[in-house]
């Protein structure tokens, strides 16, 4: 390769798109590093505090697409206070100043303000794609800036964000000349929607392939929207209340039949029971179905719909489908690759739930299954052993037994052997979430067998520090470790400090880690940010006579090349 001119090498690199591969290429030699950095267009930063905008721009001056992630994963479950951090403003400011030709911005768990959105919309002429996932801090005014100023906007994809809805006219801010939309997802908006503006927008967007509506879009509007966008591939239905006006319903049925390109269906945020049958005619084409918010629909209706969906590859559903329903899925959806079953009853004791039987049925019936997230009431080791035998191809296996510390409900044993079977059989397992009664033994198995494991979530598990040590010593590819309510302490934390250089981050909350332990860690590893999040009075930790031995509420540590961050709120103490 030394004999090729740079342009040829660069051309070869164009075929290498994955971040991992490009990172690897850049390490080969100085020449490749240089060529690679000037030709990299898409940059992925898994932790926005691991680096800073200046370093990003210095290394990749030609970047067109940036992905940034902010808060740790457990922020999704209210474990991280809102003001913790993850602000996108400094990034946008730096990018705007540098005049880089940004076209795409994807943010996850970050704080986005209207000011940021306004700046974004005005700074990049070719800006095309904005994807915000689980972000917060902005309002529909920010969306209005994006709509008004981004002339070539292709994607506006808002997934599960906390947006302050000013019931504005943001949809009417799209100029009449805007005809380039491909994706429009505003399902998470809670307020009213200007239906006229929406219909006009959809009508003048011939390339629109993905449309996800919010609650405020009623059935008759849906029918009209679908009629003028029969090219739709991905549809998020908003409110789907049973309209006694049969004319609306007939129009909807007619419109649906014309949408022969429809492959993905979601939404049904407010749905009446027998509405789903209108979609039966196109079900045989569906590859993705997300009914996880359709809390009003009974299991029997879900089953009726799924029986038509023979090509389904991805299914997200509530546990109201029941074990029987999962058996129907197992016998119908032979192409199924990803399944998520969410709980429909938070208080527990419900009879509309799924058990180990549903999981076993799925594993037996769906040979292509590689990703599962399963909330259930109970589990057994025997079932997990069977699942492992049926599905050795799991890449992601996340099991959440709703009651913490619940043992095998038949034998009353811990579920160590069951999870052990999973990690032993599934050689490609990259992500694992544990639950139920678990001792240190399960971690021994994980350390021994889970060679490809990159992300591990632990809750209410283990007996001693040995458990955590098995994982840290054994899982060579570990990137993200998150632990809550487990008895792991300073010994495990401090055993091998260099391990954290190979990981993106470690989260420990309600564990046995002490303040002095964290301080010692911070001393040994200056290249780590060791954050103590303590919503109670931080000063109390110092003043207390038992200072060092006091347990730390929440610990979040991550490798970084830019040292302590300057934007931490008062309750975050960076050691």
């Amino acid at each position: 390769m030394n004999y090729f001119p740079d342009e040829v090498v660069e051309h070869v690199f164009d075929f290498v798109t994955s971040h991992k591969d490009r990172n690897a290429i850049s390490l080969v030699c100085k020449s490749w590093y240089k060529i690679e950095r000037y030709s990299r267009q898409k940059v992925f930063i898994g932790n926005c505090y691991a680096t800073n905008p200046e370093r990003l721009l210095r290394r990749f001056p030609c970047l067109k697409s940036l992905t940034l992630k902010g808060k740790p994963h457990f922020a999704d479950f209210n474990l991280v206070p809102h003001e913790w951090g993850g602000f996108v403003q400094p990034w946008i400011e730096a990018l705007a100043r540098s005049r880089v030709g940004l076209e795409e911005l994807r943010l996850k768990r970050m704080v986005v303000t209207d000011e940021s959105l306004e700046l974004l919309s005005r700074s990049f002429v070719n800006f095309k794609s904005l994807v915000l996932v689980s972000c917060e801090g902005f309002t529909t005014d920010g969306l209005a800036s994006i709509a008004a100023n981004c002339r070539h906007l292709r994607d506006l994809d808002l997934q599960e964000n906390e947006i302050d809805d000013h019931r504005g006219q943001w949809l009417s801010c799209f100029p009449d000349t805007c005809t380039t939309l491909v994706t429009l997802n505003f399902a998470c908006l809670e307020g009213e929607t200007n239906l006229v503006a929406l219909e006009r927008l959809v009508a003048r967007s011939p390339n629109l392939k993905s449309l996800k509506l919010n609650r405020a879009v009623p059935l008759d509007a849906l029918a009209r929207l679908m009629s003028c966008a029969p090219q739709m591939v991905d549809l998020g239905v908003g409110s789907y209340e049973n309209d006694p006006d049969s004319e609306s319903y007939l129009k909807l049925q007619a419109a649906i039949k014309k949408c022969t390109s429809l492959r993905s269906l979601s939404g049904f945020l407010e749905a009446a029971p027998h509405c789903l049958s209108a979609f039966h005619p196109i079900c045989h084409n569906l590859t993705s179905l997300n009914l996880s918010y359709a809390a009003e629909i009974h299991g029997s209706h879900l089953i009726k719909l799924i029986q038509h969906c023979k090509k389904l590859q991805r299914l997200w559903i509530l546990d109201s489908i029941g074990d029987k329903g999962l058996e129907v899925v197992a016998s119908t959806c032979k192409e199924l690759q990803e399944l998520r079953v969410f709980p429909s009853d938070l208080v527990g004791g419900g009879n509309t739930a799924v058990t180990e039987e549903g999981l076993v049925a799925i594993s037996a019936g769906c040979p292509k299954l590689h990703s599962i997230l399963y909330f259930c009431q109970q589990m057994t080791n025997a079932a997990l052993v069977t699942v492992a035998k049926n599905c050795p191809n799991f890449i992601r296996f996340r099991l959440c037994i709703l009651e913490p510390n619940k043992p095998d409900h038949v034998t009353s044993q811990p579920l160590d052997e069951g999870f052990g079977a999973i990690v032993k059989a599934c050689k490609n397992l990259r992500r694992l979430s544990l639950s139920g009664l678990l001792t240190d033994q399960v971690f021994l198995y994980i350390g021994m067998y889970a060679n490809q494991l990159e992300m591990l979530s632990i809750a209410f598990a283990g007996d001693t520090d040995k458990g955590m040590l098995y994982v840290l010593n054994g899982c060579k590819k570990m990137k993200k470790l998150e632990i809550r309510d487990s008895p792991f302490g300073d010994t495990a934390l401090l055993a091998d400090v260099s391990k954290y250089e190979t990981m993106r981050s470690l989260w420990m909350s309600s564990c046995e880690v002490t303040l002095s332990g964290c301080k010692r860690l911070a001393e040994k590893a200056p290249w780590l940010n060791v954050e103590i999040i303590n919503e109670t009075d931080n000063n109390r930790m110092e003043e207390n006579g038992h200072e060092g031995r006091q347990k730390v509420d929440k610990l979040y540590l991550y490798r970084t090349v830019v040292g302590t961050r300057m934007d931490a709120p008062p309750f975050v103490w960076i050691l």
Partner: protein, 158 residues
């Protein structure tokens, strides 16, 4: 056998609604049970099970609105010309067929859906709007939403 620091009293099988004891080893003020429960139901934690806020809110809202599981729907059933009626739980049936079967048994005569004629007892119903309609035209579940009472018509006489 030692159990790990646990909320083992956080059990869905426990019948009493006392709060789970905070885990011994950590002071979890952020998880403090600050939601006074006015109902006899157990309080829900905000951080367990690990689901996103959006789903949590959706399910909470649903709990307030939904009817109890296995709802029953008792409606009056009259045979035309007979002053005393019966009562029937429509939720006990899976569809029109089982409904007709049961009614036929109850009134000791075959009953059908469909056009009135000289031979058969035909089943009709009063809907939400107060109109009398032929049973069997709409999907079963839609029927359950709208039916108020049933009437079995006698064969037509000329």
């Amino acid at each position: 056998m030692e159990f790990s620091n646990s909320c083992s009293s956080f059990s869905s099988s426990s019948l009493d609604s006392t709060k789970p004891s905070p885990s011994e080893s950590s002071v979890n003020l952020s998880l403090s049970l600050t939601f006074p429960s006015t109902s006899p139901q157990r309080e829900a934690r905000q951080d367990w099970p690990p689901i996103k806020s959006r789903l949590r809110d959706t399910l909470k809202g649903r709990r307030l609105l939904r009817r109890r599981d296995d709802t029953s729907l008792f409606v009056k059933v009259y045979m035309e010309g007979v002053p005393i009626g019966r009562k029937l739980d429509l939720c006990a049936f899976s569809g029109y067929e089982s409904l007709l079967e049961n009614l036929s048994h109850m009134f000791d005569t075959p009953i059908i859906c469909g056009k009135r004629d000289r031979k058969h007892h035909v089943l009709t119903y009063e809907d939400k709007d107060g109109d009398w309609m032929m049973v069997g035209d709409i999907p079963w579940d839609m029927f359950l939403e709208t039916v108020r009472r049933l009437k079995i018509t006698r064969p037509e006489r000329y």
